[in-house]
Symmetry: D3
Subunit: 331 residues, 6 copies
């Protein structure tokens, strides 16, 4: 039985993007990327050196195989993916913008194979005490469909039963559900989490805080409802803030970045954070180390086209050693 | 009230093709084309000089608008398209092959806006005695869904009521329905048609003829069942054969072609045929002229990337005058 | 008789640009765009929802047809274009620069079909009282040739006779004529205009003001000479200033933009301005509303490759509602 | 301990090809492929469903990682690759030609990491009785260097000691060594082989047969020297011929193909052959079945850009069922 | 004073081609090539090892410099080009076709700098007894304009006065002048030539022979009018035929070719012929050798994208040694 | 005997870069550029109008010829390059980064033809009193190999013997040698130089100064050791500082630039400096003029893709006249 450091579950799509900031209406071709929040994180973790399995359901056609092989090439184990002849492969179209035109996503993910994955299809044999150390889920999966929500819920229960650490990234998607529905749909996951990630803006929105509620206020609100979990709030250029149960909030500034690929930055943050968390030597250093690794991997991701954080551990270490700013040309 | 020569109805999709005969699993980008049997024919007719309207239902997002504007740029009237915020834009992925690997289509057209178009959404005001001269439908529309089938059926009834010529291209799609279902689903259209188009191979398959039944035998079988219609059977490199009700079969050889874009050849044939048909001076010359124009437009289409026959009338005339072979470089 | 909101007249060229900021001497390929000041504005107006016709003269070859169909696909009526077998299609080569190297245009527009359009070729039947509401001309047309100047002059006379609003964009092109010639050549248009657009810098140059003359001084100079027209001066990052006859100057700041396509920004401004102008509910709000719409459409244009403002009305409204800054990713 | 069906060892390079049949002197860019005879075969075998490990030595830089991850994505186990900071990644430049200009390879593989792999670096733990069923080597490895030759020799000895089937593809490379040197350098492998592959032309050249010696004559010459092995000679369009020890020669015609990617056809043949061989139900059918699978996989490979046979088992089965000719478009 | 083997004079244009057999109306980009009959020949000669100067007149802008530097990189001396700030750089648009659609050229060369080159601008100092050995002109230059015709005429006179061999390629361009005008305009050149090249078809057309007049009949007709010159007639796939004054006709079959770049094949033939001619050891072998070299260089050119014969002498020698057919892959 | 203004010697490589800031591990293609410090400078000088010869050793294959013809097209004389059938063409792979990920170079230049050039291969006939005015060498050549170091040393001796000005750019490459080795290996060149260029950072590193030693301190250290030479230190955004023997330091600020191609900026600076130096009218203006030209050419280079400064003299003059900032669009 292979053992993993991290198991994750979620939907991954083909991303189709017109090159050169062209609008879709101007497009004559699409660049292809493969993206999904959980598989992005999985790729980051695998490249940093952990053993990771990604669970999902995919249509067995060339599009589905393109997704799986792209994830596998970075060292993620895709052997447990559930394959089907039915349903379809989810797509999303990204129209990259420049100010004042924001980037725009056109989802075409309805009726996807993952949205129709039932709990019974979970590879139960993996969910054993020694199967893994940490289960990572996001709020996208319960947003996809009732089936997907039940599958994520079942994975959560199995993971907890096995004694694994539970990581949950709220990952609110306004095109999939309303703030209220998202709050309700994510509640069980947040209540069971050991690690809870979310953008501060989304917390304000989902938990009906003041639009300018401070990060500390948001942390307090979450601690009141989810006292058992470490909470990490991301704030874009303002960096991140994290707080362990009963602990004090710790801040980590963002690294300077000139983004060429913003999509996937949050997933990269989680990958870095989880790597830092799982490799920490002591509990004392754990949160700060995790925040640093998260911020560094996210910043490096911004410089990389596509959705996944194609970084090496040595690059992250070099960035952490340097502090900030662009690294010089080495030749 | 604008008058049209031809009105047509059908689904058009974005076609995504990896360049350079790459497999989808190797793809890093897709070339974008816009293709649909009826709009391909409509574009051919408009470029040849007829007034054409294309009816359909499209999702109002950048993908849908890309489809409509691409069809409109070639002179087809898209003002009567039904727009919706719901459903999705149909896609198909084309993996171009070389022998012995055949080209392969992966459809992703389920749940499309056109498949959910109801008869009530037909722009009834167009279906008047003077709205048009000819209605062109294909067997793809009834294959899409019950809604689409009912919509096509309703268009057929309206067109007949207005006294228009009815053109029907069987266009069997084995990924959408079985031969038996196709035969049943197309029957009403074939029974009402004035012009009926089909590949000989598909007639053998749908009407359970011998696999090597001759073209004449197929014509006879169709004449027995659909005595009212002119029947045109395409036979690839073997050219085409056509027969008017009670007439004698006429053959037209294929023009020599080195294909760079096979998709849409049948639709181009129909465009050429209908142009020849609608512009014939006498009934005597009509069928032969139509077959010639069909064969010439189809051959030219093969030389053009994408799905639509982007030809000019002068080019077709030059090819008809020359007979066959590649035209010389003019400089 | 179709009625239009706006009719415009001018030359449109193929734009050929080496990708990736390459110099022409390094180029191995050119990206193709279609650009002309008046057709850029026409496309913007059509996309915003107005009925627009673009008049011009084009050589009937594939290059000319590429221009016309590209303009038509965005909803502009090109049915009144005058086609000829003679002359040539105008081209311009754009070498995109980054500081300190400025972008550079190499014109190849001499001997173009439009430069040889005579007044007699104007589709006189359009120039009726109910043919349109507004005629838009620019200073490029009189700069092209004597024929083109006479044609623009004749259009002006016909438009005024029909009682239309006259819009004139000075659009000085230093490669086509000298400041003095431009001032003289544009004078009749400015004297007849209801709306006069120009960059402040060009006004300083053509009207021999001090190089650092203030916008107010320039407005005063123009008001003295052209008291009948609203004047709008654009000042790049400094925004715009406008003044109605006898009114007070109103300023509109520029929206923040990270340009990927600067060419056509001025034409986009005019499109936005004219849309705001023609859709204003009251005279009181008209100038300010027009300036806002102009600034917003121009800023959005900067984010779009190519020459034309491929924006939607809803995007402009969202930007106006938001004020400034880049819009967030919606997903 | 993972068990494999096939283990192979060899050098894989980045292939750089100017697109569109351009000469290298005209090139402005290179398409990147990953190619090596043994890894091409390994990819084919893995896609057909066997468990395959590829052994090699690679420089640990982005080029080396690109090679390994590209091979891994198709399901080949690359975990046993030996990584080094020293040496370089082999390259080859392919200038694709059309008649009368032949395709041309410019090797840049000297000093590569694989050419400096010593026998001591072989992962000895794999070479156990149950480690695998078949070892596949080619004549390229002994041609690379003395180190590489000794490493291949050692692998051969280990494989034989473990009782595995030994497959050897002569794969003569005229740019690496002379015919005489190749004959001498390959002799030990041929003497130990159970399966020996070579183009007929190369056998004529290396074994100093008449230039027009028949296939039967070549088989006889090889049987005299290497009586223990099945011999398979490929003859391009003329198909293949094979003969088991003491058996009678069997011929398999080539499948019709319109090549878009000739490179790797021989490796694809071996992949198909070995799949047929290892999955044969009876000894009687084995040789013919292997020849058929080899010919079919090779023909499909010709239609696929790049070096590796990216085929599915179902495609091969369909081609075998059909016999020959291009498969029809399925839609 | 540099000495040359060959001096040539003519117009060279930028060639703009939509990739992938797209029509210009479908194009989103153009590939850039540099092409002119005389400079194509000059490049071929320089690559084969002769010293060549190309004379022309070019506009001094990035387009003109792109032309000159592209010609110079292959070893042709462009130091004597006449530069001007006036006029324009000639262009031509190539729409590559596949049967039955022929390739199509849209010229945009009117008003070019070369068409306005006057005889006075010829670098007279080059036209000395030892300046060169051979002057090569084509029938395109007199077709461009009266100025260009007079310039070519003056070059002819100077070359003859210096005792150089005169080579003249009729190169009829139907878009530039009529057959009758071409015959008249080329007469003086043909009357002065030592070497006269033309396609057989063009001779039939210009000299009003029967459309199916034999090559021998055409040779006889030309010998009657131009008895002083060797005549070489090209006949496409049928090879070439040549006849020296008073000699017997010699035929050379064409080499097998799968063309990827037909444009420039005739110019390549002339380059090969002139190389063979100027390097012949004896008069006896000269014509046959020249025909062979011409046919071989032309065949190789067909395999090369762009207009110029980017071949090496060793490749031509290998092809001549081999005879025909595609050369094998060397690796 | 041709006379040159500048002769330079060095290695030039093919540069392969994944487009769009992609990592090499993501790459599917490489853009090709040609780059070498000395040939970059040579190209800049030739474009500015000087007569320049570039000496090197290249493998005679298509890669080597691509390098030579690319350099030649910009007017540099490559006739003295030493060609060999042995060795290989140096390559480097550039992974362009955005902050915080720095650009990264993967060298693949070991075993190159230039690294094996011996002093005996220097074209001694060029090294005469009137052969040239200035010899330019860099610290890369002695870093390549002992052979290359000896060749550079011999060139230095010959140049000095001929009385030429000696220019030396330290150009430290940390991937080729250590700071200490570089200091030792460059010492003889610096001791013989009339012009010595280096980045301030490299001087601090090689001469073991304090990491934050001032430019003045570095100048003083260098003046103490190399009193005979003018020293020019580049400081990135901080501009440059130069000091003639016994003179006072002069500073030149950097021109504003938005880099699209940073590689080659230092070589461009040297080209501009040397042009200014060699064309100065008086000794008084020489250093300041040289610094200005150097800074201007470097800034323009930053805006140009590839390694070489493809600028025109008129552009530099316009930038010098303007001072700073981006030049306006001219149209």
């Amino acid at each position: 039985m292979t053992e993993y450091d991290v198991i994750t579950l979620g939907e991954t799509m083909l991303r189709l993007t017109p090159p050169g900031f062209r609008r879709i209406e101007q497009a004559t071709g699409f660049d292809i990327e493969v993206g999904g929040s959980e598989s992005n994180t999985a790729i980051g973790l695998a490249r940093l050196g952990l053993r990771v399995a990604w669970l999902s359901r995919l249509t067995d056609n060339p599009l589905g195989r393109l997704i799986a092989s792209t994830i596998a090439r970075h060292g993620v184990d895709t052997a447990h993916v559930v394959w089907t002849r039915a349903d379809r492969v989810g797509l999303y179209f990204l129209e990259e913008g420049k100010a004042p035109r924001g980037s725009r996503v056109v989802y075409d993910r309805a009726h996807s194979a993952m949205s129709r994955m039932t709990a019974a299809k979970l590879p139960a044999e993996l969910f054993q005490a020694h199967g893994a150390r940490l289960l990572h889920l996001t709020g996208i999966t319960p947003a996809l469909s009732g089936d997907a929500a039940a599958t994520a819920q079942r994975a959560l229960e199995l993971g907890r039963a096995a004694g694994w650490t539970i990581s949950f990234d709220l990952n609110y998607r306004g095109q999939l559900w309303s703030p209220a529905a998202a709050q309700a749909g994510c509640d069980a996951f947040a209540l069971a989490a050991d690690l809870l990630f979310a953008p501060l803006d989304d917390i304000r929105l989902l938990y009906a805080l003041e639009p300018d509620a401070s990060a500390e206020a948001a942390l307090a609100a979450l601690a009141a409802r989810y006292p058992q979990t470490t909470v990490v709030l991301t704030m874009g250029d303002q960096g991140v803030i994290g707080c362990a149960p009963g602990g004090t909030a710790q801040r980590q500034p963002a690294f300077l970045a000139e983004p060429v690929g913003r999509i996937g930055g949050g997933d990269a943050f989680v990958a870095g954070f989880l790597y830092g968390y799982l490799t920490a030597q002591t509990t004392e250093e754990r949160l700060q180390r995790s925040l640093q690794w998260g911020a560094a991997v996210a910043a490096l991701k911004y410089s990389i086209p596509g959705d996944a954080p194609l970084v090496d551990r040595s690059e992250v270490e070099a960035l952490l050693a340097q502090g900030t700013g662009k690294m010089a040309l080495q030749r």
